[in-house]
């Protein structure tokens, strides 16, 4: 490893291409932390946004008009406002209303940190899209299938869990894939509320080392690879779930 580090140090001295996140142990640690935070943030948000999508789609099929209206209001509100402002709203406006808690060393700290707010805000943002996506999948399941399940004495929840959802997921995977890719890209917004994710740490590194072009190109490649891994995984999942004769 030391040879590689030395090589990059040499590269900097001879060509001026400065990649401190490879040869400098401090910057390397920062960037790895940032990368892990991005991955963690993405995964937690992916999970919660899908949960919100599934629950929201179920509520949209409710027979109560008001339940449907509230879910629709949520979708339209979150789809038609900027995610960054949502994030600010959650973090600054709602965050400042919550009671403060005592920390271990006797100070006062907000109840939820910036990471938690980023998770909440981004999950709700992506969840709004997921509700629509899941709903379109549920509509694709023919009524006769649901009626058959009803005639077998399944309850509404059981039908949703065991019949509708498994079929719907297979239909919606491509559009879900799209939305989740978007979500991973949107995690960069957490930079604005100082969540130490990859963009934030890169900004720290480039302000310390004045190597903006290198960090920028690294960032673009890093997100390209991250998104690529997600797309690859989703495609594998899509193939694994495929049932012969279903869908197109």
């Amino acid at each position: 490893m030391d040879i590689i580090y030395e090589w990059f140090r040499e590269l900097y001295q001879t060509t001026g291409i400065n990649l401190p996140f490879i040869y400098d142990s401090y910057d390397r640690g920062r960037l790895i932390d940032g990368f892990l935070t991005t991955v963690e943030l993405s995964f937690i948000c992916l999970f919660f946004s899908i949960v919100i999508g599934i629950i929201g789609a179920w509520l949209q099929g409710s027979s109560f008009t008001w339940t449907r209206r509230i879910v629709n209001g949520y979708i339209q509100l979150f789809r038609n406002t900027p995610p960054l402002v949502q994030l600010y709203f959650f973090y600054f406006a709602i965050g400042s209303m919550l009671p403060r808690v005592e920390t271990d060393w006797g100070g006062q700290a907000p109840m939820l940190g910036s990471f938690a707010w980023a998770v909440i805000s981004l999950s709700f943002f992506a969840g709004a899209f997921n509700v629509e996506i899941f709903r379109s999948g549920i509509e694709a399941v023919p009524k006769s299938t649901v009626e058959a399940a009803e005639s077998l004495g399944f309850s509404r929840f059981q039908i949703y869990r065991d019949v509708t959802l498994p079929l719907a997921i297979r239909v919606v995977l491509p559009s879900l894939n799209n939305n989740l890719v978007n979500l991973v890209k949107t995690t960069t917004l957490a930079y604005a509320i100082a969540v130490p994710e990859m963009l934030y740490e890169s900004a720290q590194i480039w302000s310390d080392n004045v190597n903006v072009p290198e960090m920028m190109i690294f960032l673009l490649i890093a997100y390209f690879v991250l998104v690529g891994i997600l797309v690859w995984g989703m495609n594998r999942w899509e193939r694994a779930l495929k049932i012969p004769g279903f869908g197109s």
Binding site: P142, P213, L220, F224
Partner: protein, 289 residues
């Protein structure tokens, strides 16, 4: 017309035992197309709740939230107009470059096709914020051409930075629209001895415009919402101004919620009609049968 109404009456059914029906577009749902004032009511409730919360905690000697909001509203609206300006200009630049890139993606020459595909995918998969930083830091702040110095302010750089992802998305929209046309159109044009360029300009692209319009408008709405990102890199648009208003009011925390909900409200009022219109166009242009 008769054909259209007939196909509308009888939805296509390939078999009686269809396991999966085709995915329905959301446009077909009458509930969604109905004007839902409840969305507005809900939003207003959020505003009122947050404002009254702030009002209750305000000491009597400082201005009430309503006074403060009214005082700064013209400034914030001006900032929002700047957002719209940025969005329109980036959309124009992105559409112009993206159309060329999209046409390059269906070029017959493999090098052009492959390289434009790569450029499209690269910019489509990069986060908007990173691209914005990219443009902000790597473009010079002024140009010197033949001794004359031309300044290159932040907001122009923001327009360029935002138009990069727009370009990539438009490129995909163009490619998708061209590929979605039945190949019979190409063959018919070929049999009438049209050249490739004539086919593209006179036959394919005019038909594509209709198909491209809904996703293009959707993209515009996404772009408008992305213009607030420019506040992170210091362009004086509505979010930056909201921050300055806060600073001017001595950072009162009770102002946070009304200010941010006002910004949310502005964007909602602008983007929601666009979204509704997109849905309407989608249902209008949807190929039936």
């Amino acid at each position: 017309m008769t054909q259209r109404s007939r196909s509308h009456d009888a939805p296509p059914k390939k078999t009686d035992m269809a396991v999966m029906l085709p995915v329905k577009r959301k446009a077909h749902d009458p509930f969604r197309l109905k004007l839902t004032p409840w969305h507005g009511v809900f939003l207003a409730l959020v505003c009122i709740f947050t404002t009254s919360y702030g009002y209750a905690t305000t000491a009597p000697e400082v201005d009430s939230i309503r006074t403060v909001m009214l005082r700064w509203m013209p400034l914030l609206l001006e900032g929002f107009l700047f957002n719209i300006l940025i969005s329109i200009l980036s959309m124009a630049v992105g559409t112009a470059v993206g159309t060329i890139l999209g046409l390059a993606q269906i070029s017959l020459m493999p090098p052009i096709r492959h390289s434009s595909w790569f450029v499209t995918q690269f910019f489509r998969n990069a986060p908007w914020l990173v691209l914005l930083f990219f443009a902000m830091y790597l473009l010079p702040f002024e140009f010197t051409i033949a001794g004359a110095t031309i300044p290159f302010p932040d907001w122009i750089k923001a327009i360029i930075g935002l138009s990069l992802p727009v370009m990539a998305n438009v490129s995909e929209i163009v490619r998708g629209a061209v590929l979605s046309l039945p190949s019979g159109q190409w063959e018919a044009a070929e049999s009438l001895a049209y050249t490739r360029r004539q086919t593209l300009w006179l036959i394919i692209l005019p038909q594509c415009v209709k198909r491209m319009l809904p996703p293009w408008m959707n993209l515009y709405s996404i772009l408008t919402m992305a213009t607030v990102l420019a506040s992170i890199v210091g362009v004086s648009e509505v979010m930056t101004l909201a921050g300055r208003v806060l600073a001017a009011e001595d950072g009162r925390t009770d102002l946070l919620a009304p200010l941010y909900s006002f910004v949310l409200f502005l964007f909602f009022v602008y983007c929601y009609p666009i979204a509704r219109w997109t849905v309407y166009l989608e249902s209008k242009f949807a190929v039936k049968g």
